[in-house]
């Protein structure tokens, strides 16, 4: 089975790897504590801290490359130490976390920079950057932890940051509600994750990666299955996968840089990280892998189908995120060499999806915060940089060679066809179908926004391009979207081998040949894109049109919200009300009833105190007679 997992202790320069987390955290603390005093320069501190983290991350990365065992562990202090439970506040810097560190700080820096311009007019910009830094710190802790509790620590931390940023404009009821929804649905997943940690301790007596992964082999397959399913529940919550996908599109209520960084490029991929990190667990059980693959395939289709029916530029991108993460889940579920494929798709996705979101933000910036793609059109003439970068990212996401999406998505599709028997056809075709639909709705989005006739609202006379501070990150991200694919496709896979295992020598047995799959995926992509272009080059209807059941269902998010409302929310509210009634009237009623009974009884009894002398005399006489009678009875032996 697996070789023993061992991490060397960090020394020298790498023993300062905690700075990666500490710097953004300190920056967040300073920004929050100083308050208004930091309003003038706070955003630069925010950008600076993440940029410094990026530079440090690069330095650590090169340091790590020079090491033999490619992984170092660092224990900062004892976190929890009770009985046989030892949880260290410990960090692990290995190829997988290094890749994530670079993604988070790299893409994060660009988005931070962009946000300086985007949030320019917002009075809460300092607070925004504090939350942004807090997010970065939590996300870095998530990927750097060396045990599952640290991972959970960062996991909940990013949940908090995500909540704060979704509800950043908290005076909007929709934003506040969306934030709450995100937090709650995440908590459902978190509860699963937490139970998985309990199970690890109960079974193996430890929550450290090394101990758990080394001990997986000694666990019964049922335990592994349950553990994996619980982790998967956590992952689906964080990553917006079925059945916990409904919060992610609502999260678009937050400012656009938030959507780009948290709800597209980094945080939502934490679920993929969790599964990739726990690959010894997931690889140990076939049923488990099938479940992960099913979740991925189902979600990628759900996301793609709903993406076709949305008219809000950010919601289309949100559902596309759901769908793309579905591909990543598909990848990590397939196991073996596909773990690495999922990770490179994740990295590429980080570039092009961040580019798409920031592009969308740029469009909104120039269009008075309009988000309805039916109200755009012909914008390519007015915002050339945005158009060009958005276009490249669009080509990248639909997988046109030689852009990055092609190099990362197509191998996952191919890997799906390499499963055994009919499941290869099922999941392979699902992935292929997803690619076609992706091409369709992304083309629809692109064409409706930048081409075709103008359909602007009256208040917009002359849309303007965004300032350089916003376009510069766009350009850099576009470069990433174009180049990342072929740069990463082999090098990153090799780099990740120490963590995810060496699968280069394994023979692929696809049900159809690899070449055919490549051709097929390009063909369906072009077909989907062509269909999208043909249908929407002339614009679209301005009002929502009556539609058949499938489109209506897609517009309503496939009734997931309605389901949640009918099954959890409504009965929950009813249950709460019923319980409040029960508590006040039932349990407290019992208590008060007892008090009332005592009180009522005594007020009856005191009626005997009439104030009439003769009734007192009568009772005295009765008493005396009773005493005499009792005395006589005893004396005469009547009772004996």
């Amino acid at each position: 089975m697996h070789e023993t997992v061992e991490y060397a202790a960090a020394d020298g320069f790498l023993s300062t790897v905690w700075l990666l987390v500490a710097i953004p955290l300190a920056s967040a603390a300073i920004l929050l504590l100083l308050g208004k005093r930091a309003d003038k320069w706070g955003h630069w501190l925010g950008v600076g801290s993440i940029a410094v983290s990026f530079v440090l991350g690069l330095a650590y990365f090169f340091q790590l490359r020079g090491l033999d065992n490619k992984s170092v562990e660092l224990t900062l202090f004892d976190y929890i130490q009770v009985g046989s439970l030892h949880v260290d506040f410990g960090l692990l810097f290995d190829p997988l976390s290094a890749v994530f560190v670079l993604l988070i700080t790299g893409v994060g820096s660009l988005i931070h920079l962009y946000a300086v311009g985007y949030m320019d007019h917002d009075p809460g910009r300092r607070k925004f950057f504090a939350y942004f830094n807090l997010f970065a710190a939590a996300m870095l802790l998530l990927v750097l932890g060396n045990n599952f509790v640290m991972l959970y620590f960062g996991w909940e931390g990013v949940g908090l940051a995500s909540y704060l940023l979704i509800a950043f404009w908290y005076e909007r009821p929709a934003a506040a509600t969306a934030g709450k929804k995100a937090f709650l649905m995440n908590r459902v997943g978190d509860a699963g994750f937490a139970i998985a940690i309990f199970l690890m301790f109960q079974q193996l007596g430890s929550v450290n990666y090394a101990d758990v992964f080394n001990g997986v082999g000694s666990l019964s397959s049922g335990v592994v299955l349950v553990m994996g399913l619980l982790l998967l529940l956590g992952a689906t919550g964080k990553s917006g996968q079925f059945p916990l996908q409904a919060w992610l599109p609502d999260a678009m209520e937050g400012p656009t840089p938030v959507s780009a960084l948290i709800h597209a490029a980094t945080m939502v991929t934490a679920g993929v990280y969790l599964i990739a990190r726990s690959n010894p667990i997931f690889s140990a059980n076939l049923t488990l892998q099938t479940v992960v693959v099913s979740v991925g395939a189902l979600t990628l289709l759900i996301g793609a189908i709903i993406g076709c029916a949305k008219d809000d530029i950010k919601r289309v991108l949100a559902w596309s995120t759901v769908s793309q993460i579905g591909y990543m889940f598909l990848g990590v579920g397939l196991g073996g060499g596909a773990y690495a494929l999922a990770i490179i798709h994740l990295l590429a996705h980080g570039f092009f999806k961040a580019g798409l979101f920031l592009g969308a933000g740029s469009v909104m910036h120039g269009m008075n915060d309009q988000t309805d793609i039916r109200r755009f059109g012909g914008l390519w003439r007015y915002m050339r940089v945005t158009w060009a970068t958005f276009g490249l990212a669009w080509l990248a996401i639909i997988g046109i060679p030689p852009l990055s999406g092609y190099f990362t998505k197509e191998p996952i599709i191919a890997a799906a066809f390499e499963r055994d028997g009919w499941t290869a056809w099922l999941f392979g075709m699902a992935a292929l179908l997803g690619a076609a639909i992706t091409a369709f709705y992304m083309t629809r989005l692109f064409v409706l926004t930048f081409h075709g006739p103008k359909r602007w609202t009256e208040d917009i006379e002359h849309p303007h391009e965004s300032p350089a501070i916003m376009t510069a990150p766009l350009v850099l991200l576009a470069v990433g979207s174009v180049a990342a694919g072929w740069l990463m496709s082999t090098s990153v896979v090799d780099w990740l081998t120490p963590v995810l295992g060496d699968h280069s020598g394994e023979e692929a047995h696809g049900v159809i040949s690899h070449g055919l799959i490549t051709a097929l995926s390009i063909v369906v992509t072009v077909l989907g894109a062509g269909l999208g272009y043909a249908l929407y080059r002339g614009g679209t209807a301005m009002q929502e049109q009556p539609a058949g059941p499938i489109v209506t269902a897609a517009r309503r998010n496939l009734y997931a919200d309605a389901f949640n409302e009918a099954v959890f929310e409504k009965p929950g509210i009813f249950l709460t009300r019923a319980l409040v009634f029960l508590d006040n009237r039932g349990i407290d009623g019992l208590v008060n009833g007892l008090a009332a009974a005592v009180g009522g009884g005594s007020s009856r009894l005191r009626r005997l105190q009439t104030g009439f002398v003769r009734s007192y005399a009568m009772s005295m006489l009765t008493g005396a007679l009773l005493v005499v009678a009792a005395f006589l009875a005893l004396q005469l032996g009547w009772l004996a």
Partner: protein, 102 residues
């Protein structure tokens, strides 16, 4: 003729006591009530003296003296109360003086 049977005295005492008790129960005038109580006390005295005679010692008679002393003291206090009630209320009916209740 031999001495009268002491039981007759006891029966007389019982009758007197009963008259007194019924009086206390059914009359409303405080003075009458008071006299009925005196009647009961004296019935008890009669019984005590009779027992003394039957038993041939002085215990009962001593008790009777105690009762008389206590009764006298009681009359002093009781009549004073009745007087002050009568002064304030112009009536000696005990039913009207029923303020000491719940």
């Amino acid at each position: 003729m031999n001495a009268t049977n002491p039981e007759w005295y006891l029966i007389l005492a019982a009758v007197l006591f009963t008259i007194g008790a019924v009086g206390v129960l059914i009359r409303r005038n405080a003075i009458v009530l008071f006299m009925c109580i005196e009647l009961m006390l004296n019935a008890a005295n009669l019984a005590l003296v009779t027992f003394s005679r039957i038993n041939g010692n002085l215990d009962g008679q001593i008790m009777a003296f105690f009762v008389m002393v206590v009764a006298a003291a009681e009359v002093v206090v009781g009549l004073a109360i009745i007087m002050s009630i009568f002064r304030t209320r112009r009536s000696a009916s005990v039913d009207e003086a029923n303020l000491l209740k719940y």
